[in-house]
């Protein structure tokens, strides 16, 4: 190989590369490099696919569920009759109506019909004669709304507080870290239950904000509130160390405003961490929501969510175990796929990062 014409320096690298390989160096952003690493991780993509399928199935439920199952999530069909081929709606007239009543007088409920009743009661009925499959879809919609919504609020608030604390330091930092410590001092679930049950009495009517006790905003806000320090603390630590770097000193020297330093210098540097936190905390929040609703401090009945469906099914576990198994499997699939994708995302964005969500 011929000796290169010039010495290798940063300025001549481009020319040298072209001479040697006939190709120019393409500028690659960290996001592109991360995407290249993620692209090779098939397992993460399968997980993302599973999550998207579940999310789409649940979020489109209000559009298609009625046409298939011919019922609403809270509609009761205690007296309907299933005779193997179809479901006859009550009141059933005539004597040829033979088959199984959806909810028997003795308390037994209809098992999964799979597809024999043409889409009705695919996963059976619960104690009030409601279609479990439909409740599962609508419940999933509520669970995902709460999980994603609270993760979004939680990460946004945490990033904002971490930016303020890390950039300004001093008393601003003191107040923010102390209030993190304060929330940290509670068992997470107990604090969430305390807030959830206190708010579900009369809703929230302070500071000009009015939320009704049955609103999904209550579990969403409660869950996002209790997890803020778990995301905010590590982010603040990162920002504190970034704050000492030369590029921030340079920005201050150039006379950049605090807002500009926070949002266009510091924020992009913690964006990948925040993104990974966002994915993992959705999974975590779905689990928390299920626990809260199971105890009655989350989504209020008759509104469905995966947690309330498990709670309703639990009483009949001996005679109708599918009422409990089906929503649980839905939660495990969703949370597992998010956790796998979150792990993949973390490995791709920063192979050495230590982002963890504590339960």
């Amino acid at each position: 190989m011929a000796e290169p014409a010039t010495d290798f320096t940063l300025d001549t690298a481009q020319v040298l590369a072209e001479e040697e390989h006939g190709a120019s160096i393409v500028g690659r952003s960290p996001w592109y490099l991360a995407w290249r690493r993620l692209r090779r991780n098939y397992i993460a993509f399968i997980a993302l696919f599973v999550f998207v399928v579940i999310a789409v199935a649940c979020s489109l439920a209000p559009i298609y569920a009625h046409h298939i199952a011919h019922t609403a999530p809270n509609a009761t069909h205690t007296e309907d009759i299933v005779n193997g081929k179809q479901v006859l709606s009550a009141p059933v007239i005539g004597t040829d109506a033979q088959g199984n009543v959806v909810v028997e007088k003795a308390g037994g409920v209809l098992g999964p019909t799979w597809w024999h009743a043409h889409g009705r009661f695919v996963l059976g009925a619960d104690g009030l004669g409601r279609d479990v499959a439909v409740r599962l879809l609508y419940g999933g919609l509520n669970s995902l709304k709460i999980g994603i919504g609270s993760a979004l609020i939680c990460v946004m608030v945490a990033v904002l507080l971490a930016l303020l604390a890390g950039f300004y330091g001093g008393w601003v930092d003191w107040i923010i870290t102390r209030s993190f410590d304060l929330i940290w001092a509670f068992p997470v679930l107990l604090l969430a239950i305390a807030l959830g049950s206190a708010l579900s009495i009369n809703g929230f009517h302070h500071f000009g904000i009015s939320i009704s006790p049955h609103s999904l905003w209550i579990p969403t806000l409660v869950i996002s509130y209790v997890y803020v320090p778990y995301v905010g603390r590590p982010l603040r630590g990162q920002i504190l160390s970034l704050r000492e770097k030369e590029f921030i000193e340079a920005a201050i020297g150039q006379g950049a405003s605090p807002l500009r330093i926070m949002f266009s210098d510091l924020l992009p540097n913690v964006a990948s961490t925040a993104l990974v936190f966002f994915t993992l905390i959705i999974a975590n929040n779905i689990l928390t929501e299920a626990g809260l609703s199971f105890l009655g401090a989350g989504v209020q009945p008759p509104n469905p969510s995966w947690g309330t469906v498990i709670q309703e099914g639990q009483e009949r576990i001996i005679s109708a175990p599918w009422l409990t198994l089906a929503p649980g499997i839905a939660i495990v699939l969703t949370v597992l796929s998010l956790n796998i994708f979150g792990d993949g995302l973390r490995d791709a964005l920063d192979p050495r990062a230590k982002v963890r969500v504590e339960h």
């Binding site: 001092a185 107990l190 305390a194 049950s197 401090a297 001996i318 175990p321 409990t324 649980g328 504590e358």
Partner: protein, 327 residues
């Protein structure tokens, strides 16, 4: 050192004070409405409500109410019988909240200590095994199982294990829920707790295993580990004496805080599912009735354990690691 310990425990009291104020705000200010009309029942007479307001002190300013509440928590902790209206009471059946919490403590402590030992042991096992086999199929299998473990709602796992192991089989392996005091029958105590112990531990095992695995893999690349290998130590000795000592530090911190949270009633879901009449069960039972004082009492009780344990952890670290000790 003494000064550090004193300062740390003074800080603990300050945090507990802030915690009690936050709890007071959550329960007295946030719900809005009139607690007296809730206590009075469905069809109260106005005079009735006024009487209840007076008797429970809801007509006083909020700082007096706060002081009264804390005084009641304090007197409730004293031994002996309490007159009916000098303690923190349930809105629902007017039972003594502190008394009820004390009654739940044996079950909660039994659950926590057993489960804590299980999850610490297996968490370390999972972490070490997956780290030393990193990248091989054993590691993949262990990390996948750990991931499934942390993706399961603990109450759902409890319900289905109880169903498949205690309710469905004609010869059940385990008794079906409930708690038997250790003093009544140690064997029954053990049989009733073994299932809850493992169900509660699953989440923590998966979580600690993952944390420890990544810590060990980080530590293994440190210079001092290479030095230890270079001087000819066996891999086992390097792992036990050099790698694990440092990698276990975050796990010990986590263990202290999680243990405190569960001790403080944080295992509310496991206790509910297995009908262990512990502190968490008591709180869960009252959520349905929206009976605030018991939930308030349990929340305070739980926060107390977390604050206490985090102070203890800090002091322990200062003993163990001179770098952390403040000048």
């Amino acid at each position: 050192m003494t000064a550090f310990i004193i300062r740390r425990f003074l800080g603990m009291i300050a945090v507990l004070f802030a915690v009690s104020i936050l709890v007071f705000l959550i329960f007295i200010i946030v719900p809005g409405g009139d607690p007296a009309s809730r206590i009075a029942g469905k069809h109260p007479t106005p005079q009735n409500v006024v009487n209840i307001k007076k008797k429970w002190g809801f007509d006083k300013p909020f700082y007096v109410q706060y002081y009264e509440m804390m005084r009641k928590v304090g007197t409730g902790l004293l031994p002996g019988n309490h007159s009916q209206y000098d303690v923190l009471r349930s809105f629902d059946d007017q039972t003594n909240v502190v008394h009820e919490i004390k009654k739940g403590m044996p079950a909660t402590f039994s659950l926590t200590i057993g489960a804590g030992l299980i999850w610490l042991f297996w968490g370390v096992m999972v972490g070490v095994l997956s780290a030393i086999t990193a990248g091989r199929w054993a590691d993949r299998m262990i990390t996948t199982v750990a991931l499934v473990g942390i993706s399961m709602p603990v109450f759902w796992l409890g319900i289905i294990t109880r169903y498949f192991l205690a309710e469905k089989p004609s010869h059940p392996w385990f008794p079906d829920g409930g708690y038997v005091p250790l003093t009544a029958s140690p064997w029954e105590w053990y049989k009733h707790l073994i299932l809850p112990w493992f169900v509660l531990a699953v989440l923590f095992i998966g979580f600690y295993g993952r944390v420890l695995r990544s810590n060990i893999l980080d530590t293994i690349n440190e210079d001092y580990v290479r030095t230890a290998r270079a001087k000819g130590l066996t891999p086992r000795r390097v792992l036990a004496k050099h790698v694990l000592r440092n990698s276990l530090i975050p796990v010990v911190t986590l263990f202290g805080l999680d243990f405190a949270a569960v001790l403080g009633g944080g295992a509310i879901l496991t206790e509910t599912v297995f009908e262990l009449h512990g502190v968490g069960f008591y709180a869960a039972e009252r959520v349905g009735a929206l009976d605030l004082p018991p939930i308030m009492g349990v929340t305070l009780y739980g926060a107390f354990f977390i604050v206490l344990f985090s102070a203890i952890i800090d002091v322990l670290y200062a003993f163990l690691d001179p770098r952390i000790r403040p000048a």
